[in-house]
Amino acid sequence: MARVVHPARHYLNDGYGISSWLLTRDHKRIALLYLAAVTFFFFVGGAMAVMIRLELATPVGDLVTDETYNKLFTMHGVMMVFFFLIPVIPAVLGNFLVPIMIGAKDLAFPKINLLSWYIYIIGGLFTLYALIAGGVDTGWTFYTPFSTVASTTNVVPTALGIFITGFSSILTGLNFIVTIHRMRAPGMTWFRMPLFLWSTYATSLINVLGTPVIAITVLLVAAERVFHFGFFDPRVGGDPVLFQHLFWFYSHPAVYIMVLPAMGVISELVAAGCRKPVFGYSFVAFASLAIAVLGFLVWGHHMFVAGESVYSALIFSILSFLVAIPSAVKVFNWTATMYKGSVSWETPMLYAYGFIGLFTIGGLTGLFLAAIAVDVHVTDTYFVIAHFHYIMVGGTIMGYLGGLHYWWPKISGRLYNEGLAKLSAGIIFVGFNLTFFPQFVLGYLGMPRRYHAYPPEFQVLNVLSSAGASILGVGYLIPMVYLMWSLRYGRVAGSNPWGAVGLEWTTSSPPPTENFAETPVVTWDPYEYPAADLEGHVA
């Protein structure tokens, strides 16, 4: 069993200067650069959310003006979607784990990997500039003709920021695809790969095929604003709805860019937390690909009220329902994995339980929205807001935090404080539900999104939601503290603190720069948990 010692030489002490970080090609260090950057943008986007919930504590618009409110929810959406949720799991956990999980020394293109971080930062600076220069008020969806003709705010810098950051996603996705195809260690066949890699692969496909479409779309919006080209301008015969088609062709699959990696994380957590192979491995693997493919065929469900023909709406509705099948396959298979498993109550598993429950609610309410008649009733209400926050926050962030806790001992070589971690997982779960469950009710009762004032009878539910948001905020701050604390004071983790299987647990914690002393040769199936392994488990 793993002896608990800190390795003498690892990627964190392989060079100390600033340039050893800013010019690194080591995928593990680049993962940490991303960790710092996405955390920063998470708190910028979170600050906007704080302002939004404060404003909505009272029915009248008393804290900020309506125009400021428009900018707040726009920048909240832009920051969270493009600069946090889309990159977070692939760029942090994926960057760290993809090469290690397949037994490679690095990603296929280490320089491109570093380049993608710089591209992300440059895109982020453009968007921060837009924020500081006065913000943008179009909503994160940039609907034309408001974004092209009417809005007087910083649409172009924001659009350029999104355009630039898109290339970071594309290059990361490209790197993962090539790495998974070409860099697997001897014996690491496709069906011996951890499920996290299947979902990362599926995500990368969407990144590579979807992101260029949003890139060209925001470029057309920018060209229309700057050069007065007419693509979506009704005055020259352009069609604003065409913009919506292009926008959602990427932005619906983008939801799967956010949630698929989290699903991959959950598969790892459930297997390790139950000490069993994931039930129906190949079904879970192919469900990831199915979600990626189907995700490209459902964008029209965002446009049921935008003058879409009844027949296309019907087709898009049916296709949207189909996404529920691979999603449910995953949920059922995780649950089946737990059945008669040695189920753990450690922090990563708490997040896994949270994910499964919240994703199920988010997914099932997605079916409400795929049903055309219901969708017409709740379009642009808080029902939609609650639905996608259950997927993006309840799903993606739960998965991310679960994964961050699970692999933290590998990343840092230290253990965090388990008591505080469990406490904050609980606070996040309670705070999340208190924030967003009332919004389902508000939306069903008819409260529209994107207004800074509302009828007084909605106040009780809004106050509950704002109270939940403050609890959620505390829950997010606590891990910041104890994870930082653990870097210096945490107990030394040893190479395999969970007694888990998987190549990442066979190398030291933190791993050496080249990941493995010797290239591993894989002769076993994924998640082979012999009963004897239970004893190596740190309780």
Binding site: A104, K105, D106, L107, A108, F109, P110, I170, L174, N175, I177, V178, T179, H181, R182, M183, P186, V208, L209, G210, T211, P212, V213, A215, I216, T217, L219, L220, A223, F227, H228, F229, G230, F231, R235, V236, G237, G238, D239, L242, L246, F249, E514, T519
Partner: protein
Amino acid sequence: MPEAVHHHHPALAHHFDDLAQQKEAATLGMWVFLATEVLFFGGLFLVYSVYRAWYAGAFAVASHELDVTLGTINTAVLITSSLTMALAVHAAQLGQRRLVILFLVATMALGAVFLGIKGVEYYHKFVEHHVPGPSFAFEPHEYARHAQIFFSLYFIMTGLHALHMVIGLGIMTWMLWWAWRGTITAEYYSPIEVSGLYWHFVDIVWIFLFPLLYLIGRHA
């Protein structure tokens, strides 16, 4: 592949087992990137298709304003540059350093000719007030609104294509430097091959742009 002979070729990056694996990775990487590019231009072709279907008459009339002679010359120039590019890759595979340099220079020269002719065409459109925006003017007047969409598409599509050409010229300059200093050998020619894939892709985009923009409504 632990059995592989580790002849440490100077171009072999530390994280690959051998040059063959490195070449496979580079080639796949470029193909995946080109898939991205297909979707990037695909968005433009979609917008084009929608408005072409709606405003077929205006698109045909506006298309006649483009200079077919220059467009045809440019098509020929670009196809020839694909030939010289393919010859450069072939020479690289055989390790013929001087021929690689010759064909790369020829490819770059043809690319520069293409961009020059494109610039002349842009200048003409500018003089004729066919650049979309407040100063846009078009006869016959009933087609002016929809012609503006045509010219918006013309400039964004050919403009992004030209930008790809400029990037291609940058890559070719880089490859020229590598060929010059002797990095490119019969053992290690994949950078030329991968750059060639990119160059051919940019050519193929033009093969679609040329008929869609220049040749509308010209058949009897």
